[in-house]
Symmetry: C2
Subunit: 149 residues, 2 copies
Amino acid sequence: MSSDQASPRLAYLLKHANLRISELTEKALLPYDISGRELGVLNVLNGREPGSQQHAAQRLGIDRTTMVALLDTLEDKGLVSRHPDADDRRRNVVELTEKGQNIVRWAGSAAAEAEQVFLRPLTEAAGQQLRESLQAVVARPDSSGQVRP
Amino acid sequence: MSSDQASPRLAYLLKHANLRISELTEKALLPYDISGRELGVLNVLNGREPGSQQHAAQRLGIDRTTMVALLDTLEDKGLVSRHPDADDRRRNVVELTEKGQNIVRWAGSAAAEAEQVFLRPLTEAAGQQLRESLQAVVARPDSSGQVRP
DNA sequence: TATTGTTATACTCTATAACTATA
DNA sequence: TATAGTTATAGAGTATAACAATA
């Protein structure tokens, strides 16, 4: 069934690749006092016109109830601000504070370095290929056009 | 920080790749009444001389306390048997039952099919490359020899 | 009636600490 | 004293259901 000793199951490889990059990223972010998940949220908010909480949650593929707690923490840390949307008062407009903008810049580059460490066993071309292949399989793969190697 | 809209963070891609293959695998395993994690355990036990619980846990990279509950379930389902090692009675020898051997065969091939669906957006070469690159980054990457593309 | 944010709750996966029985 | 299995417990991360305010 495709595994045994020759080639481990893809699910196993993905799980452990995930564990490894998470470990490297968390370590790299330690000085900035944020987690990888929190940086993900900041990234979504960065350089975009302010959107609702739900919008941010959808972009990250997490539930809106999960986003609440995440934003609570980020707001406590002074990295994001929430205020009701004037046009639709059910919505919260979420924005990076100035501190948040600084953190996303520095923590972001620390996370990018962690990625480089993660990819170190691969050539640059293989690393690039890995990223593209992952994007292809993640992008709701409707059996459409295949990615070339 | 390497992400924004052009290229999402690697951590994001790996997390969602993981979610997708898990979803596909769980669905494929539904008829066999086992989870992907349980199949992983059965795979480790399959075709090897019987080992201890701890041995199996190490091969999967999970804690020995986690293995206990996993084996409890598999034993309840009649797929594995545990009995004390005659040479060292602290150890439990874990083996697949005949039913377990059948399940691992059929469920294993269903899981392999799920992998194929997962890889469908990639050419065969790109899929092979993905597997090799993941193996390289997961294999405790000590910056040694790089994998070529 | 439907939607946004929120709260309460629960479930899964995981690890740590402490217990037991062996060694 | 050290190790294998076990138990109890706790902490992430996640989702579902229900509620308030608003549309």
